[in-house]
Subunit: 204 residues, 2 copies
């Protein structure tokens, strides 16, 4: 299924479209390796095993790809977080789940992750607003976990916003150092970070 | 003092050279705002109030500037960490000091910070090795603080490497969200993060 060059391709069309899937995956990989600005549409077409003209049947521009990668990344984390919210776990367990989700992406979607963290400002204005709204929604989910932990007495009376930012920092920063070939799984790392943030590294 | 175009300018010459200082500061600001690849030597010259030909009396290329910004950043954090090591603080206090140092850079050197975190791979090979060695040295200093805390009994028997990466994550990630105009000082944020990581957010 080729998409019209006149309108922006939507995330919904990716799942049912193997070639578009391949274009996105190859783009994520190339952007991760070289940086967004250093990858051309020709590079993406070539890595995807198609001609540039063919690629333009699927996306209008490199910007379209950037937007789709951002949307896909947010979709992944929001879906996971919302599914966990429905499980009604206790706040600590829910926090651990969210941290595992983020760390797992370092293994499964490293290209998406770098693009998401480093190329937000390269998004077209309208798309940037949408992604920012999604990101805010995600942050609110994690803030709500902390707030619930405080109200149930599982957590101390900490600054909800700042502790959320600290937790994101621990997890998100792994995109800078995590090696999928390393000895520890994302889940092991996430559980360790959760124990640091919940129990502290200080001796009780 | 103009530098020869034949050899790479060194960090030592920056302090005594107001124009080079201005070039670096303007570059850091532009790279932060637009991204390294989207800033030209002309842009830097113009922001520094000099002509492009004059800029080439001070640095040989944009790459030279990137290297100097990386070196300067490492110099700042290493100097601070080594000065604190000499103060023989207890491990917890030393950890708090290191965390304050990093957060303070988000206010004083935000351009340097983004360049350092996002453009490591854009460094020329030789320079990249030097910066990596400095970064490893810095990480070792923080790992040593954690190890000492474990041996004095102030900290639990945690994974030293992984807790160091978690601490860096909390602090470094602030480059993504910290606003110098916000209500909290870098020191307040750093102390809060230190209390999260040492005491935990869980109720004891």
């Amino acid at each position: 299924m080729a998409v019209s060059r006149q309108r922006r391709v939507t995330l919904a069309s990716v799942d049912s479209n193997e070639r578009l899937r391949e274009i996105l995956d190859q783009s994520a990989k190339l952007f991760d390796q070289r940086g967004y600005d250093r990858v051309s549409v020709e590079d993406i077409a070539s890595a995807s095993g198609i001609r540039k003209a063919t690629l333009y049947h699927y996306v209008r521009s490199k910007d379209d790809i950037l937007v789709l990668l951002h949307q896909e990344f947010m979709h992944l984390v929001l879906d996971a977080a919302e599914a966990e919210s429905r499980q009604q776990l206790d706040p600590r367990s829910q926090l651990v789940s969210v941290m595992i989700d983020i760390l797992a992406l370092m293994k499964t979607h490293r290209g998406h992750v770098r693009v998401f963290f480093e190329h937000h400002r390269d998004l077209p204005t309208q798309a940037r607003k949408g992604i920012r709204a999604d990101r805010d929604r995600y942050e609110k989910i994690v803030e709500a976990i902390i707030a619930r932990g405080i109200s149930t007495g599982q957590f101390r009376q900490v600054d909800v916003r700042l502790s959320t930012l600290g937790i994101f920092g621990m997890c998100n920063w792994a995109y800078q150092w995590y090696k999928p070939s390393g000895p520890m799984s994302p889940e092991v790392i996430a559980r360790f970070f959760a124990s640091c943030i919940v129990d502290g590294i200080g001796k009780r």
